[in-house]
Symmetry: C2
Subunit: 121 residues, 2 copies
């Protein structure tokens, strides 16, 4: 089964974490049948963390997991922390295929989205 | 003159700050004539900060400034810190019109963008 994990930073502020729950629901509603499982995880400050999420969805049958970094910049979290966690996950689940997508800030349409929202102010 | 400031968090990592410079250039290239001035600023850890940027573009002739929070969540930075800075800026420049846009994570197309990038992995 194919799975997608939307990985956010995580916050001490519960409302911010809740936005990721809503986003994940919206992604599920928007997607067609590319993924059998779509879940969220947090890198820090909130649960489930990425390893917990991976363990859970492998129990549910995931055999190929795409991790989507919901980050705006290619900072240390994206370049160092996420790859380190995936290395651990790969050692723990050698039969599962792991892929890490590029981060959201890298989408070519960001300028368009910025101008659209700015014009609504 | 109408101005747009793309306001990012700012990072200790120079490459991350540089991505905002490139993004701002892309927004300039993408925009038509809505804004006479398009600049970037950082909330923390890098310069120019928001007040410095506002002071500079008012010297350049800005009379209406839209601040665009390049943040994924409605955390304390968006709900508390940015409004506090705008309050200071308004007191300092009472003749300038300030507007704060919603944050990038609030764009309705985020699910679409996530699925597009995830499919490229």
């Amino acid at each position: 089964m194919n799975a997608l994990i939307i990985l956010a930073h995580g916050s001490r502020r519960q409302e911010s974490n809740e936005e990721i729950v809503v986003l994940t629901r919206d992604v599920k509603n928007y997607s067609s049948d590319e993924y059998d499982i779509i879940e969220y995880a947090y890198l820090e400050l909130a649960e489930p963390n990425l390893l917990q999420c991976i363990d859970n969805i492998i129990i549910d049958g995931a055999s190929s997991i795409t991790i989507f970094p919901y980050f705006l910049n290619s900072g240390n979290h994206v370049t160092r922390d996420i790859p380190a966690i995936i290395e651990t996950a790969t050692a723990r689940h050698p039969d599962c295929q792991f892929d890490v997508s590029t981060f959201i800030g890298n989408h070519k349409d960001m300028p368009k989205l910025i101008l659209e929202l700015a014009s609504l102010k």
